[in-house]
């Protein structure tokens, strides 16, 4: 096995290349996808032509609508929404239509499509280009939601998402896009619904998403120096959710901390904590600690933005709180 290290962007682009070569029904549409504002779709038009890499007008709702229509009629579109925040523009078509017609048609229609969407706070983008809205897609039925945290996961999950017969939202944290990681040359897939244990530990189960995985790992490293062994789990997809892996960890640690960059109120952590309080109650030795962005608009100024979003320090403190210790 090679030890090639490539960026998240390259990993995503490779996933597109491989899937577009493999299946001519796959095509990409979105604003400036030919140029590729964030690079994930750049140069694809050279290999696949303008019919399969389509620049759309600035209209997220109709673009996602077009993807739904194409998906229902035999193609496998990937529609790029340039910033995660803009998914709310297409909320009706995503939540009320894309996720529902397979069921409503009793299986006569399938909606195999991916919404690829860079998102998250990276400093200096301000309120409407910085939000992490993945949790908004847990409530609507019929959707799947992927939130990769490494180039390896991004490639493997995106390939599975493209092959999946359901609509999948694929969130790419903009802070991760230029980071490098190991991605083998050989083809691989990562199934949707399989969590990954990013670090093993026995004292606390720390579930982290997307860009917070790295913060969680750094926090775990620091805590390890104090003798606290944190198990860091990246669920990788919010729907379907790999409850087994998290539960198995909890059966070892009895302590649960959840961290996400999306807002805490009504976030993924709410759903996971609720699952824990319902299904794993006897496996909890302490209150769950739930971290997320405060329930405010994301301010622009870097000092304010940082004050909203969970930091490595916040995670360390939450783990200690979970163990009944103060830092």
């Amino acid at each position: 096995m090679s030890h090639r290290r490539i960026t998240f962007i390259q990993a995503v682009r490779e996933a597109f290349q491989e899937e577009m070569r493999r299946d001519e029904r796959v095509f990409i549409l979105g604003q400036d996808v030919r140029a590729g504002i964030f690079g994930t779709t750049s140069k694809l038009v050279g290999e696949f032509g303008e019919d399969r890499v389509i620049n759309t007008p600035i209209c997220e709702s109709a673009s996602v609508g077009a993807a739904v229509g194409a998906a229902m009629t035999g193609l496998r579109p990937v529609v790029q929404i340039m910033f995660g925040d803009f998914n709310y523009l297409a909320m009706e078509i995503t939540a009320n239509q894309a996720g529902q017609w397979h069921y409503l048609s009793d299986g006569a229609l399938k909606v195999p499509m991916v919404i690829e969407t860079p998102s998250g706070a990276r400093g200096g983008a301000g309120y409407g280009h910085s939000q992490s809205l993945e949790a908004a897609f847990i409530l609507p039925p019929g959707l799947k939601v992927a939130v990769p945290s490494t180039p390896y996961d991004a490639k493997g999950l995106l390939k599975s998402a493209i092959r999946d017969d359901n609509p999948v939202l694929f969130f790419e944290h903009r802070r991760l896009l230029t980071q490098r990681g190991h991605v083998p040359e050989e083809e691989y897939l990562i199934p949707l619904g399989q969590a990954d244990i990013k670090r093993e530990g026995k004292d606390v189960t720390l579930v982290a998403l997307s860009a917070t995985v790295q913060k969680a790992l750094s926090a775990a490293e620091r805590l390890s120096q104090q003798g606290i062994e944190v198990e860091v789990i990246d669920p990788r997809t919010l729907v379907p959710l790999d409850k087994e892996t998290i539960f198995k960890s909890l059966q070892k640690t009895y302590h649960l901390v959840v961290v996400e960059e999306g807002r805490r109120r009504g976030g993924f952590g709410a759903e996971l904590t609720a699952i824990a309080a319902e299904e794993w109650f006897d496996t909890l030795d302490a209150p769950v600690q739930r971290l997320g962005t405060i329930s405010a608009p994301l301010p622009y100024s870097p000092v304010l933005e940082a004050a909203c979003i969970p930091s490595e320090d916040d995670i360390v403190r939450a783990v200690l709180r979970s163990l009944g210790q103060e830092e």
């Binding site: 209209c59 397979h102 009793d106 092959r163």
Partner: protein, 324 residues
């Protein structure tokens, strides 16, 4: 291809079926045999039926919430419609869809509960057939009120930009729920809006099914030949109320009466009789057959079982994914 006599007879038969079926369903709704409310289209049957005339069975149709014209026109049977409205296990959707009629294998595509959400989807269907070089045409039928919805302009833009085989059809029946359309629509005509996006358009009498057929046929052949989208606006009139729960009263009686004189079914029958290929006996025989078909369909739907509640969790997600 001009409209030949046999085709016209079939369109006529479809219009009559629509009229009789709607009346029958209205009674069933009022009698609470059917759990939903109904939105009917008495007086405007020529549009939905006529636009389906020139379509292939694999062409895509995005229809409306009002009545059955385009559904009958595109190939749904009365029994299929009734079973959906009853919510029975024998319906194509096994009780899931109700009024949101769907029949994928004759090209009847989703009717979204949110008006206008089909605009993007119809762009996608047309884009898909263009990319697949399948020769299919997509027809997107919508009301003049629905033309106010957000994705209407963007759909015109995309259809024009990509020269899609997509025919937009505005069924202008002059009412938007409980008010005259000029209450919420800024212009007399919707069609010129297409011009703003470079999409050619025609405004046509929607109560003459031959004109509806011919205009659609022109637009569909253009689209099929790769000459891009068109918009057709058919002027017609909704003689009934908005829905079964609407007591009405806001449509001037003289207005209704004037449009009754232009009834599309009467006009079609008069023409066929005048041209000598339809007789009173044909009429009677046809009506008897249709009524019998509808009654059989009602009975079938009535006697069909409700779906098993245990099926409610089936097909939430498609299983397995891509198999190729």
């Amino acid at each position: 291809m001009a409209l030949d006599n046999d085709t016209l007879k079939e369109l006529y038969r479809n219009m009559v079926t629509v009229r009789l079926l709607e009346k029958r369903v209205e009674r069933l709704v009022t009698a609470a045999r059917i759990p939903c409310s109904g939105h009917f289209g008495t007086g405007q049957e020529a549009v939905g039926v006529g636009i389906c005339g020139p379509l292939r069975s694999d062409d895509y149709l995005f229809g409306t919430h009002r009545g059955f014209a385009e559904y009958i026109g595109k190939g749904m049977a009365p029994a299929e419609i009734l079973c959906e409205y009853y919510g029975k296990a024998t319906s194509l959707s096994r009780g899931r869809l109700g009024q949101h009629l769907l029949k994928v294998d004759v090209g009847i595509m989703p009717l979204p509960s949110s008006l206008g959400s089909e605009f993007g989807m119809s762009v996608g269907a047309a884009l898909s057939s263009k990319l697949r070089r399948s020769g299919q045409v997509t027809v997107n039928l919508f009301g003049e009120g629905t033309a106010g919805q957000a994705d209407f302009g963007p759909a015109l833009e995309m259809a024009s930009l990509w020269q899609l085989p997509l025919v937009f059809v505005c069924n202008n029946n002059q009412y938007v729920e409980l008010a005259h359309y000029r209450n919420v629509v800024a212009t007399e005509d919707i069609a010129p809006r297409a011009g703003g996006y470079g999409v050619p358009y025609e405004i046509v009498d929607g109560n003459d099914i031959t004109l509806v057929y011919d205009a659609t046929e022109r637009a569909v052949s253009r689209a099929r030949n790769g000459e891009g989208p068109m918009l057709l606006e058919f002027k017609t009139y909704r003689r009934g109320t908005h829905y079964t729960g609407d007591p009405g009263g806001y449509q001037p009686r003289e207005e209704i009466a004037a449009w009754e004189k232009k009834d599309p079914i009467d006009r079609c029958r008069d023409r066929m009789m005048a041209e000598g290929f339809w007789a009173e006996t044909d009429e009677q025989a046809m009506r008897e057959t249709i009524e019998a078909e509808i009654e059989a369909a009602v009975q079938f739907a009535e006697e069909s079982p409700y779906p098993d509640p245990a099926t409610v969790t089936e097909n939430i997600y498609a299983q397995g994914g891509d198999k190729s």
